[in-house]
């Protein structure tokens, strides 16, 4: 083939490979299956319009203001426990009147701590904006020895937020699989996009098991927590991350208590009673001395929950992959040809910290 035809031919192949035509796997077999992800913005609380008035350099022994706008850019969710903490101002000094810092908003509401000033907003409404102002005084000539210097003004914005992701998975009965084979057709369902909610801390599902999984076969997936914000989130605190899976998935696993990576435990109870308490379902599991006791998983709206019983650190803004293994239910006995399931994960009330700073150049006054 002449080289002039190479580019159009490659272009056609690429277009075909990404086209929505069902039944053509494109280049999946080359690069492995991909799953679409619908992801909301990581930036929920942002700082904008940061400026210093008057424009630096600031003359010694004069007042200046460092200001910025804090905005909750989510259209639906309000934020709780939003705090703005000024913790470093170098050789400059906060301006106070009768011991009250001249900060905005509401100078009276700033808490004066040991080496910091803190303003807390119990609730920051969706799309709400607040202008934060720190009024500071540059040091006098004597203090800087008539030599130009810098004031590193540093602050931290923190807030409490919850993260949530959701994905779906389909299981088919053995009979259904046989029907496809016999009729010469194939499964035409779609692997819907996983949804990754708003906020800086994201959780991504990665199904290791190809969809659809056959009845009573293993279902394996991983979850990775990634900090996609610009702030600081060093670890997932213990008992704050929850993985919810359909209860049918745990009913046939050999040990439901160890279905997820070490560090995740089933929310339930170990009980000597032979019948499940209300709101619980019996599952297999338990080791050592508890094997003689029954293990019951707590069931909420048809889902059982796993939670982290240890802190999980994020290295390089990413956790190690959390792996869970379950088993698809026996759809054949239930007479169900195909069933879609939803799984979700959430991290509740995590604290996220954003750091901000402005270096102010100070010049001696004449």
């Amino acid at each position: 083939m002449k080289t002039q035809y190479l580019i159009p031919v490659v272009a056609i192949l690429l277009v075909v490979s990404v086209s929505g035509c069902v039944g053509f796997d494109g280049f999946k077999s080359w690069f492995g299956p991909t799953q679409a992800t619908v992801e909301q913005t990581p930036d929920i609380l942002i700082t904008t319009n940061q400026r210093t008035i008057p424009n630096p350099p600031i003359l010694a022994d004069s007042e200046f203001t460092v200001m910025f706008t804090l905005k909750n850019q989510d259209q639906t969710q309000s934020l709780r426990n939003v705090g703005v903490k000024l913790y470093d101002w170098g050789v400059c000094n906060p301006v106070t009147e009768s011991g009250v810092p001249q900060f905005l908003p509401d100078s009276d509401d700033w808490y004066i701590g040991d080496g910091f000033f803190l303003r807390t907003f119990d609730e920051f409404f969706n799309l709400e904006e607040k202008v934060i102002e720190f009024n500071l005084m540059a040091p006098d000539n004597q203090r800087i020895g008539n030599i130009e210097t810098d004031c590193p003004v540093k602050w931290e914005v923190n807030y409490t937020f919850s993260s949530r992701s959701q994905d779906d998975f389909t299981a088919i009965s053995k009979e259904r699989k046989r029907e496809f084979d016999v009729s010469g057709t194939s499964w035409t369902g779609t692997n819907q996009a996983q949804y990754v909610g708003i906020g800086p801390v994201k959780m991504y599902f990665d199904f290791k098991t190809p969809m659809p999984v056959q009845s009573e076969s293993s279902i394996q997936f991983g979850i990775t927590v990634v900090d996609k914000g610009s702030g600081i989130y060093p670890k997932i605190e213990k008992n704050t991350m929850f993985i919810k899976v359909p209860k049918e998935w745990v009913e046939n696993v050999d040990d439901a208590t160890t279905a997820c990576t070490t560090g995740f435990q089933l929310v339930g109870k170990i009980d000597a009673s032979s019948t499940a308490p209300a709101g619980y379902t019996p599952v297999s599991g338990g080791t050592g001395s508890i094997t003689a006791l029954a293990v019951y998983a707590h069931v909420e709206d048809g889902y059982v929950v796993y939670t982290n019983d240890k802190d999980i650190s994020l290295y390089n803004r990413e956790s190690s992959e959390i792996i869970c293994r379950f088993k698809a239910p026996d759809l054949d006995t239930a007479g169900v040809p195909e069933k879609s399931y939803f799984i979700s994960a959430n991290i509740t009330d995590y604290d996220y910290r954003l750091l901000g700073s402005q270096t102010i150049h100070i010049k001696p006054s004449v």
């Binding site: 159009p8 277009v15 075909v16 035509c21 619908v38 959701q166 879609s340």
Partner: protein, 285 residues
Amino acid sequence: MKTLLILLLAVVLISGCINFGGSKATFGLSEVTSNPDLYLKIQTSSDTIKSERYVQMEFVIENKGEAPLTNVKITAYDQCMFTGESVKEIDEIRPNRSSQWNWKWQASEVEFDRDCTVGFRTTYDTYTTSAITTNVLSESEYYTREEEGKLNEITSSESSTANSLRINMGFSEPQPWLDDEKIFVYVDYNDVGGGLLKELEKTNVTIIVTPNLADGECSSYETDSVNPNKFILDNPLKFISKSAPSTTCAFTTNATQPIESGSITITANYKYQFDNSLLLKVTPK
């Protein structure tokens, strides 16, 4: 080069195709039109349902075929994120009749927009009858007509119930047949519906011939103990890729008069199933 560019443009134009089978997925509406004997329409009051709210689903099922549909059962086998009634049973739907009903489902709580594929399976029992007239001529009649070129005046007619099972008959010799000859009849079974016919169960298919075909035997069939001209399926016929193994019957033609007309009638009772799905969107409150 120009041709390649045009080809590229054509590929781009069709690249967005969904369900290459020809129907585009529509939220809140599902219609099954590919079955010769049954039409099903499911429509919802809204294609987007808010979290924890209710949706009305209207079902219309119609017998488009020529045989009654019995034991009709519609099951929502995958309700996705909804709860509510999921099984409807109808004893019988006669030809050209329809049945209509509503379900009210409640959406689960969601925190994200979710596209839901609700899966339905419809099963029913029905039957197909396929008949063909047969003509056996006595030796003298056959040869006379052969000499006069009038053999083709003896015609054969064929009739069949219009539904998802199509039974076709073929013969080793074209009609009319000469008396006292060995004739083979080949029976093909084809699923022409949009769903799935898994098998024709034992005893559910009968072949009845008239006395102009004698000493018959059919593969996979046994001769009825009372009526030697009736053959009953004694092994299930399983369908693979929409067709079942053919049956071969052997008969000896028999004419007690110059033109001995008769028929072969095949009746098959079967269970048919098809699946369809309904797309719905659930949104957070």
